[in-house]
Structures are given as C-alpha cells and as structure tokens.
C-alpha cells in the first residue's frame, strides 16, 4: 500500500496549479465560489482556455485530441479545478457523447462531431429522460420512424440540463414498439436547429433555469445520425452511464465546498467570538470532514481498481450515494454558517457588474439557493434509491 502520489503525479499537480493561476481569472473563480449562475459565454471561454492547452478532453485518448491521462491524473486535474473554483467542464459532449462516438460511432461521425466538441462549435445536451420515464426505460415514448433517408421523430424529453445553450442533442428514441422495451431503442443525434424542435425552460426550486423540456414535432433526422445499430441504443446508453464515472463522488466539489464553509465560519461572528470556534458548529464541520477524508480514499481505491483494468461496477453507486450525501451536508453547513443571511436571495449581487457596496456579505447570497439546487444531486443521474438497489443486486446479490 502507498497512499501518496508519486513524484510524477505531484509534478503534474504543480503543472495544473500553474495553469490555473495563469488562466483562471479571479473574477470567474469568485463567481463559481459564490454560487453565481454562469452564462454560456463563461463556459465557452473556459472551455476554450482548456482546449488551447490540450486539456479539455481529459478522458479522451490522444488520437482524438484528448490527454491520454491516467485515471489518477484525471482525478488530480478534477480536484485542482474544483479547489480553484474553476467552472465545471460541461460534460455532455466531452464525457458522455464523446466516448460513445469513439467506441460505437462510424468514422464519418467521429470525423464530423468530435473536433466540434473540442472547438466549442457544438454544444451538446442529453435526451434520455421523458416525463413519466426516469429510471424506467420501459415507458420511453419518443419515437423515430424510418422514412427513406430520414427518421421522423416525435415526442418529448425533459430535465435536459443546459439545453437552452445547446445546438445538438443525443437522444434515446423508440424505433421498434413490438419488442421488449429495452430492445427497441436507438441512439440518435439530432440537430436542434431542425424544424420542429423546441425548447422550454423548467425553472427549478431555487429560481435557476438550468434544465429544460425539449419537444420534437415531426422532426426529420437524417439516417446517418444514427449511432451504431438500430434498436441497439440501450447498449450504448449503458456504456455511457457506466463509463467515465471517476468523478461521480464529486470529491473536488466537496473539498472546495468544505474549504468554503471554513472560510465563511472564520468570518462569521458568534457571540463574542467566531463561528468556527463554536464547539457545536465545529463538531458538524469535523464530522463531515472526517467522512470526506475516508471517501477520498474510497474514491482512490476505486480509481486504482479501474486503472488495474477492473471495471468499477456497483462501486460507482456507492461513491454516488456517499458523495452526494456529503456534498449535500456541506451545502447545509454553508446555509447554517451564514445565519439569518441565509434568507436573502440576491443572485444579481454575484453575477457581476454590480459596483455598489454589497447589501449583505457576498458569500451569503446564494447559500440557500445552492442548498436547494443541490437536492438534485441525489435525484438526477440515477437517484440514490436506484443506486441502493443496484448495490443490493450487484454486490449483496439480494
């Protein structure tokens, strides 16, 4: 056993830190740290900087313009970005579609789509969930009917994250209704500028417009946009879900969040001292820090196994559950830390441009919104209940 990074890994970490100090502007990092909602241009500018350094596609092989990094390097990279409060890399093109195309796409598709993901020309979003069909694909209803050189697509997708910024969507569609539910599904790439595609934002509980409904009304999709074989889409979708989950625990985000709690609790007054010195608050903080220290090692163990060629199966589910619980506990601590200032909701105060003296401390304005927004962590991407069921079946064989 050896719990420390190798010399090369530590060097790599220094490289990442140097890159961040030169390329991540304090203004952008502040926005992320304070929980501001980023605009499309914020994301695009950050992606462009990473791409210029060749670091945007951290999980792609070199031949497609990726980094060729080991799993440990990717974890270091993700940790450092999160700790520096860099914007998260928007994953739909880079860590979801990219690997699917690389494995199952044809040459033409790879040539056509992969470079445009890196360049930022295409912004992808994900079309899996439908109203009434979350984890249960049996009820997937968006249909694609082959008509000559086109599929005619009708139906609706929902919870499409950042779909308002996207020009392409990868979708699971039903191409055969007469077979077992999972057998008749195909994986289709749809240009969102096609006639018949419309996007409607869903405002979330914290006022954020980050997810959307996407409607398809007689949309014609060229057959060359089919990935792999017709009716084999579920295979590709599963690959996408189980592949690339090294960061499923959200370790970097939790570390950054915890650092933020400490920063806030060291600024907040408590009676005649500071909140950080209050034994009850300190106990809450220490408890989650201890959990996080252990989870970091659990995460490394899973990565090490993956690096040794063992696919992390249900272990991803364990990391997902524990990781989201820890992240949510941290957002709860942040809301507690700011006291009565958890009530005001002032997103405009941290979205830049405001030169006035802040009405309330800038670190406080988004804490309750973030607390509510992060409830999604245990719901989207396979709810924690689904993950527990996977654990029971796969590991405990119950």
């Amino acid at each position: 056993m050896d719990l420390s990074y190798s010399h090369e890994e530590r060097q790599f970490r220094e490289e990442v830190r140097a890159f961040l100090s030169q390329n991540l502007s304090p203004a952008l990092a502040d926005k992320v740290r304070l929980g501001a909602r980023l605009g499309k241009s914020d994301h695009e500018a950050w992606h462009a900087k990473l791409n210029a350094r060749g670091w945007l596609a951290s999980s792609w092989p070199l031949e497609y313009g990726g980094t060729g990094w080991t799993a440990v390097q990717r974890q270091i990279f993700e940790d450092e970005l999160a700790l520096a409060h860099a914007p998260r890399i928007v994953p739909f093109g880079l860590t979801m579609l990219g690997p699917v195309l690389q494995k199952f796409g044809n040459e033409e598709q790879k040539r056509r789509f992969l470079p445009r993901i890196l360049s930022g020309e295409d912004w992808w979003c994900q079309g899996y969930s439908e109203p009434g069909a979350g984890s249960d694909l049996a009820t997937l209803r968006t249909s694609a009917v082959r008509q000559g050189r086109h599929y005619l697509v009708n139906g609706q997708k929902t919870w499409t994250t950042l779909g308002q910024f996207a020009n392409w969507i990868f979708c699971l569609v039903r191409t055969d209704k007469d077979v077992k539910p999972q057998a008749g599904i195909s994986f289709l790439l749809i240009d969102m500028t096609s006639p018949g595609v419309s996007v409607r934002p869903i405002v979330l509980i914290d006022g954020a417009a980050e997810v959307n409904e996407v409607f398809f009304d007689n949309v014609e999709v060229p057959v060359e946009n089919l990935v792999g074989e017709e009716n084999d889409g579920w295979t590709y979708a599963k690959y996408l879900l189980t592949h690339e989950r090294t960061n499923i625990a959200g370790l970097g985000f939790s570390k950054a969040g915890l650092a933020n709690v400490k920063r806030i609790a060291s600024a907040e007054a408590f009676d005649e001292g500071l909140l950080i010195d209050n034994p009850h608050f300190a106990a809450r903080l220490a408890q989650v820090e201890i959990d996080l220290m252990a989870m970091a090692t659990t995460n490394s163990r899973v990565i090490a196994k993956a690096a040794a060629g063992q696919a992390p199966g249900a272990e991803s589910s364990m990391l997902k559950v524990k990781g989201t619980l820890i992240r949510q506990e941290i957002t709860d601590l942040n809301r507690r830390a700011v006291g009565p200032y958890a009530m005001p909701f002032l997103p405009e105060a941290v979205e830049g441009g405001c030169n006035e003296e802040p009405v309330i401390p800038d670190y406080a304005v988004m804490q309750s919104a973030q607390y509510f927004n992060n409830r999604k962590l245990s719901i989207f991407g396979g709810s924690n209940e689904i993950q527990r069921t996977i654990i029971c079946k796969a590991i405990l064989e119950l």
Binding site: W159, I202, I205, A269, D271, N278, S368, F372, F380
Partner: protein, 365 residues
C-alpha cells in the same frame, strides 16, 4: 389535560382553511385587507388589547393554516412582533396604533437583528445617544421583514452597556420617512419582502421611545417567544402540506408498472416523516401552551420547540423533495414553496443549532 381546540378556534381554523384555499392569488395588500376583514389580525390580540384572542393557541391556529396554504402575510411583523411590543410597552399614543393594525390600516416591522448578532437577542450594536432632549440612532439592522411595506419600524438600539449586554437595550417607534434612514429592499428565497435598514444620524424625539429606557430586553424576548411559537405552527402547516402532496404523488406516480408508493423503502421513509411531524405538532403545542409560563419554563419550551421544528423541517423538506424526484425540484410545483418556507423558518429567530445550545444553557438555569 385537554388537546381539543375551543369551538371558536376550531371554527376559525376551518374558515381560514377554506378562505386560504380559495384565495391563493391575492396580492399582498388585498390579502392584508382580507385578513383584517376576516378578523384574523384581531385574533393576534387579546380583548383588552382590542382583539379577541392573543393566546398561543390563537397564534398557532392562524399560522398553521398560513403555513399549510403557503401564503405570505406580514401578520407576524404587524400582528405579533411589533404589535405585541406596542401593547406590552406602549403609552396611550403608541397603544392607539394597535387599533389601526387590527383594522388593517397600518403595517409595521420590527428592526432588531444586526449583521453580527446572528440569533442572539441581546446582541445589539446600534446606538441611541442622547442629543438635544431626544436620541440619535446609528447602526445597521439586517433582514428586516416587511420593512418596505411598513409605515413605521420598531427599532432596537443600545442606550447603555456593551453590544452583548441584555441590559441597556431600548426600543423606538420610527417613521419610515425619517431622515437618515435607508432601506435596501430584497426578497428572501421564499419570496418574502425584507430589507437591510441603515440608520445614520437619525434624530428622534424622546416620545419615540417605546417603554423604559434600557429595559426592553424582557419584552423583546417575550414577543420573540410568541413569534417563535407562531413560526413553529407555520412550519407545521407547511409540513402537513408537504406530506399530503407527497403521499398523493407516490400513490399516483408509476414506475416499473406500479405506483412508487408501493415500494417498501419509500413507504418506511414516509412513515418516519409522519412520526416526526407528530413530534413537531407536539412541540408546537408545548411552546404555545407555555407562552404564559414563568420565563425559565417558557424559554425552555421555545428553544426545545424551535430546535425540533428546525430538524424536522429539514427532514420533511428533504425527504418530500427526494420522494418526488425531479418534479419536486421545480419552481412551478407547489411543494417547492412549502419546502423553502420550512428551511427559511429555521433561519428566523434562531436555527436548530442555536436553540440546542440555548436549551443547554437554560437547562443549567
């Protein structure tokens, strides 16, 4: 022992439930007027004070229904906190304002908390210094609910002592248009109007003082106890709403061909939610039933109840959102409003951690 509501309160409860259900979209001003007409504001005050209620269980009946309906009303500020302070400490002129409140003609706000006071009631740094036979106020009051709509504020300020003394705190009735008073308004996450209030060189006549100089702490603590009892009831109403929405939802939402309410793991979690809501109801009864007890007992129940309500509110909000899944995360759906209210209530007059520590201190006597 008797846990039945009186007939009058039972009738009030039922009429409020009907009225609130049918009038979800009233604007704040219309709603305030309607509350006056229904006599709801009067229910916050005793007969002697010009109302017909004023006891803990009068507050709880009204606020539980407000919480259940997810409605915002400045009732807490005008009817309980500022209104209560006026009746408790006011001279004849000041008492006269209460009639206007009950009639729905006057709204007030209570400006007490400060940027560094967190939830400590005695922590007042705003100063009131003698000047030319009156007082000059300077300071910053934070998260003052209803400040913009209020015509007058009741402001606490220190006439003696250091920032952490219970003694030396005085109250002033301040017109909103007073020179030197600045109100920076905003909304809270759950859509309530609040503001930062800054006082700079605000000069007041001696007559603006409410009660005895430097003696306001006990009255503040007592009125905050009443407000806390009302908040507990409001949160309880919100919990009941969240529970009903969730039970209805999991009975109808299908997954893998069955209603998700048939999944045992979800059922058992819902059972725990139900058990804790019953605990919240008991804690609310306890605090409402001890508002007129001697200070030690009253405040012990205040902190016990607010701690428990804060914990259970979090559990109910989180579990109900989780059991709903995605739909529970949307602004549009009714659950969000009550869930946010439960969490925001944790930040009014002390969260569960604050009241746990206060309970420990009070237990030591």
């Amino acid at each position: 022992m008797n846990f039945q509501l009186t007939e009058e309160r039972q009738m009030l409860k039922e009429s409020l439930r009907r009225f609130f259900a049918q009038n979800q979209d009233l604007g704040l001003d219309e709603f305030w007027k309607a509350l006056a007409e229904l006599g709801v504001i009067g229910a916050m005050f005793s007969e002697k004070q010009g109302g017909y209620g004023g006891e803990g269980f009068d507050l709880s009946v009204v606020f539980e229904e407000l919480g259940r309906a997810g409605l915002k009303a400045p009732l807490m500020q005008s009817g309980v906190l500022a209104g209560g302070l006026l009746t408790q400490l006011g001279n004849d002129d000041q008492q006269a304002l209460v009639e206007q409140i009950i009639a729905g003609r006057l709204q007030l706000a209570f400006a007490h908390g400060e940027p560094r006071s967190r939830y400590l009631l005695r922590h007042v740094s705003t100063t009131a210094k003698n000047c030319d036979g009156g007082f000059r106020l300077d300071g910053h009051k934070s998260v003052v609910i209803n400040a913009e709509r209020a015509k007058k504020l009741i402001v606490s300020a220190r006439t003696s002592g250091t920032f952490n003394d219970a003694g030396g705190i005085s109250l002033f009735v301040v017109d909103k248009d007073l020179q030197g008073l600045q109100v920076h308004g905003y909304q809270t996450l759950d859509g309530v109007d609040a503001a930062e209030v800054r006082l700079e060189n605000c000069v007041l006549p001696k007559s603006a003082m409410l009660g005895q100089e430097g003696q306001a702490f006990d009255a503040i603590e007592y009125q905050v106890a009443r407000a806390t009892a009302a908040l507990c009831a409001e949160s309880l109403g919100a919990m009941e709403s969240a529970k009903e929405l969730t039970v209805d939802y999991i009975k109808t939402r299908q997954q893998f061909g069955v209603a998700i309410g048939k999944f045992q793991a979800l059922q058992h979690r819902m059972a725990d939610v139900l058990i804790e809501i019953e605990q919240a109801r008991s804690a609310t009864i306890n605090v409402c039933g001890h508002l007129e007890a001697e200070r030690g007992s009253r405040e012990l129940h205040v902190s016990a109840a607010k701690n428990l309500i804060g914990r259970v509110g979090r559990l109910v909000a989180e579990e109900c959102i989780q059991l709903h899944g995605g739909i529970g995360m949307t602004q549009e759906y009714r659950l969000g409003a009550v869930a946010k209210r439960m969490i925001m209530i944790d930040h009014e007059w002390g969260d569960s951690d604050h009241h746990l520590q206060r309970f420990i201190e009070l237990s030591r006597g």
